[in-house]
């Protein structure tokens, strides 16, 4: 199991914009399963108007996108021609929502590789909570080197 400290090291996002708490399952070269506990203490919960308001769909998509990055960092480590400094650029999102998540919910995030090449990948991701399925998303990701984008890493 991978805890939050390692998750933070593996993701390019920084606190408080990290939406994966832990990795609970890795199938080499195929899939990953993660958990996110949404709480009333999360920064975005302050902007939710009333008790009972659902977590924004855009944040759930972000959580599934971060799960997809962890898929390549953990399940394709050494097997994919992508260096640890590679960036994943989201090119397309095809999302279908069938449920909602609320503060207090534990959401299971699962990502599975559909097609992987050295220049890009297609990932199928799902989110599910205590009340069942929440969303299914297909991501198309481009792979770029940090240098080609002119960026730098703070740490």
């Amino acid at each position: 199991m991978t805890g939050f400290d390692e998750v933070r090291e593996l993701l390019p996002q920084r606190d408080p914009f990290v939406f994966v708490d832990q990795v609970i399952e890795v199938v080499e070269g195929k899939r990953i399963v993660c958990l996110k506990n949404f709480t009333r203490g999360d920064f975005f919960a302050e902007g939710m108007g009333r008790p009972g308001d659902a977590v924004a769909e855009s944040l759930l998509i972000e959580a599934m996108a971060q799960t997809s990055i962890l898929l390549f960092r953990k399940a394709f480590a050494g097997a994919m021609p992508v260096s640890p400094d590679s960036l994943f650029v989201l090119a397309n999102v095809d999302a279908k929502f069938s449920g909602q998540a609320f503060p207090g919910d534990q959401v299971t995030l699962e990502a599975e590789a559909v097609k992987v090449t050295s220049r890009g990948a297609i990932v199928s991701a799902r989110a599910a909570g205590e009340r069942g399925a929440i969303a299914e998303v297909q991501f198309t990701l481009g792979v770029a080197s940090r240098n080609s984008l002119g960026g730098h890493r703070d740490r």
């Binding site: 097609k115 090449t117 220049r119 890009g120 990948a121 297609i122 198309t140 990701l141």
Partner: protein, 89 residues
Amino acid sequence: MYSTEIERTVTQVVAEVSEKKEEEIWEKRDQNLFKDLGLDSLLALEIVAMLENKYNISVPEERIIEIATLNDAIHLVEDMLAAKDKAAV
């Protein structure tokens, strides 16, 4: 318009991914998908993934770059299916 099921399916997949009309894709089947129809490499990857799923084939990365036109994509699928049939014998 089409003479084979593969021609129809590949054209439908390219039309869906590129968000263009099937007729336009078919009419321009010898034109470059990237220069003339505005596709990019990631859309090509989406096309390949959909074709893999429909035909239960696995297209190696080095063969994806062979796809420049719709006809190239059709021929690639025909090749992969022929190789699959041969391997099954």
